[in-house]
Symmetry: C2
């Protein structure tokens, strides 16, 4: 991420304060913001928000979350993956639970709301119900997922995959930068479990009514639309490729334009095709995030160029069609320019639709609270993606300030927006009905 | 340079052997090729052609050139810049001289004809005249310029600038990779001069009738045209820039296409504009030789992109117009895409036209030998560029095989083409008339 460039830009701050929640909600918003600040003290590097899996900072945050959950009237436990799980019992003990939550690990030098918001917000709502002595026919479980970002062990969604029963045992052998394996880190974490207990952390589907996740948007869509909240339609699927173009290097002064086989200009043309092809289609995005000319020199016509392609769409068919067109364009451009293109697929993940009935619960809650209804896809991955393996999922996005930047210390969110989200979450829980 | 890519490409070898010089010329061609091979043994790294300024390999090559010059009946001297100068006296001692020559330093891992050809070829012709007892009204001086490429001390054209009287004293303080200054290298070279004698190495204009240089083309134009030889019209002027685009970094999944300020796509669009603008205009070329996204990641919309621009043309007005259009396009593209473009000019050199009367001498000689007449500009710099400060200059290019590649061990030239060039050089000298 590029801090100076972002600072230089005027943030796209339209109507940041248009959400006007009531007094109760206002207090919830203040409390969420205060807790986010307190929790951010649990960091590996002072002055930065860095909290990776099973470090001292991570354990400190887990202890703080447990304490707040207990204060809010929840029974708290941890599991073998290090997740922090609070259960707010229903009117009948042992009732199936509506699960909510998000991750409390962070990227290096990231923001304090990414993930954490989705844990702190339901704790605040539950604390209010607890103070009022209010319970529901269903239980509510709040899970602080121990790991989503994949920073320390280069494997993502560890916490939610453990809960969903899709934890991949092979990643236990992954090592961090110091050569410590994930297995050793878990076994030595003092969780009261060993890494071999992870499969037992999986929920049974009949215990679960559904999974709802509140998350900061991490993009500029709500900010640009002037809205505090949006209901997520799907978590986009993604296709990634690395492309290497081989042309013919030559002297920048002596090879006439018509005789060139310039690898970089072929790559540039492909990049602009991707941009054009992915524009104008809702929920579809295409990015060339890496581009270089190996051993490039100002006075040499590039013989090689390398670049990455990342294509995402909420609809898998839309993504597949875009990928097909891009691959066909690469072939055509390479042939016309007499260069070779080596194409390597590096990643492919299908989209995860949010369940229609559970989206409706968010929609009803948004309307009930008097906010405008807005839908958007999630281009980033979230714990809900893993939870979809065991239950229906749906998400609520909260406006991301400062141009929509995230994974960056400039990530920000207003107390008003946090309050609006808490109000809507409370409305969803208070009027929750399972799909017929 | 990209060896594998070049090797994979079929070389554009059209009619490599169409030149069919007579028996005498054939012998000259064989001799030039043999001498180029012998001289290539003077290298810093066995198996590679690397001969930088005032190294042991460089001194060895100078001694070998001196020996061949002496055998050819020349008086040989060195000057304070390390140039090797052979004089083939005219019918009257002390007559003004037609000067020819080129450089005998090389790039690292370069070709054996680049520069060296322009020294070895006139020595071969003169050796033949010497054997025949033939002299002319004018003297002929062959200069093996000690330094042109600028590899060791990051300063180019040292030898020809010393002869032309335009040697920049400040570069004496430049240091090589080992921290040795150029001044110390010259003072310790055993040349019989110190670096303070360099100004005295300059010729007086009245000693000189003109400067003609034979050089391998270092490009694919003659190869593509199926011709052994071409008369150079001008050495192109060049403008170079480094451009840094600042946009806004963002998440590749969460920032919709319409809200992006993608620095790399702006750079790609500018690159393609440069390519288009510089195509279709004879003698004009434009190159983006460097392109990178600092800290780029596959899943991040680029917030920054950097690239180089190199624009050259034989006609300065053509180059200036292209540069103006490109700079205007950068401004327009940056504004439309809401990114900033920082533009830094890194180099600006005017073109050096070859003198019309001296071009005519080459043309007459080409016709006399029965070769087709062909003109082309030189996109690369040559010693003739520096010599233009003291006298009129003109050049003859010799076809470069293997796709036109140079500054590379794959650089190649046929004995037939060397013979053709020697035949034309001999014809030029034998019928030389100074401009009226």
């Amino acid at each position: 991420m590029d801090l100076p460039a972002v600072v230089q830009q005027p943030p796209m701050m339209k109507q940041l304060h248009d959400a006007a929640p009531g007094d109760d909600a206002g207090l919830l918003g203040q409390r969420i913001m205060a807790h986010a600040r307190v929790l951010s003290a649990h960091t590996e590097t002072a002055g930065m928000m860095t909290r990776t899996y099973l470090t001292a900072a991570h354990h400190g945050a887990a202890a703080q979350l447990s304490a707040w959950m207990q204060e809010a009237g929840m029974q708290v436990r941890r599991d073998a993956a290090g997740n922090v799980i609070g259960r707010y019992e229903g009117n009948v003990a042992g009732a199936p639970a509506l699960i909510t939550g998000s991750h409390f690990d962070t990227v290096r030098n990231g923001g304090i709301y990414d993930g954490n918001l989705g844990v702190l917000l339901p704790i605040a709502s539950i604390a209010q119900w607890h103070a009022q002595g209010k319970r529901f026919d269903h239980a509510i479980e709040v899970i602080g997922f121990a790991e989503e970002e994949g920073v320390r062990f280069k494997a993502t969604l560890l916490g939610s995959r453990a809960v969903a029963g899709t934890f991949d045992q092979r990643v236990l052998e992954n090592q961090d930068a110091a050569g410590i394996s994930m297995r050793a880190a878990i076994d030595g974490a003092g969780l009261g479990f060993s890494s071999t207990d992870i499969p037992a952390a999986a929920y049974r589907p009949e215990q679960v009514l559904g999974f709802v996740e509140v998350h900061i948007e991490q993009g500029p869509v709500l900010l640009d639309a002037g809205l505090a909240l949006g209901v997520v339609t799907a978590i986009s699927g993604a296709s990634r490729f690395l492309i290497e173009i081989s042309g013919v290097a030559g002297h920048a002064g002596t090879v006439p334009m018509a005789l060139r086989q310039d690898a970089a200009m072929a790559a540039a043309e492909i990049g602009l095709y991707i941009e054009r092809r992915c524009s104008g289609s809702a929920g579809l995005v295409g990015t060339v995030g890496q581009f270089d000319i190996p051993d490039g020199a100002a006075n040499v016509v590039p013989g090689r160029a390398r670049f990455s392609i990342d294509i995402r769409a909420s609809d898998d068919a839309v993504r597949a069609a875009a990928v097909d067109d891009v691959l066909q364009a690469i072939t055509g451009i390479a042939a016309r320019r007499r260069v070779q293109a080596a194409i390597r697929k590096t990643h492919e993940a299908p989209g995860v639709p949010c369940a229609a009935w559970l989206q409706q619960r968010w929609e009803q809650a948004v309307r009930r609270c008097g906010f405008p209804l807005y839908h958007l896809p999630s281009g980033a991955g979230h714990d809900a993606m893993a939870m979809a393996a065991i239950t229906d999922v749906a998400m609520l996005f909260v406006r991301c300030g400062n141009g929509g930047i995230s994974h960056n210390p400039l990530e920000t969110m207003s107390a008003q927006d946090a309050a609006a989200a808490a109000q809507v979450f409370s409305a969803l829980v208070e009027h929750f009905e399972v799909s017929a």
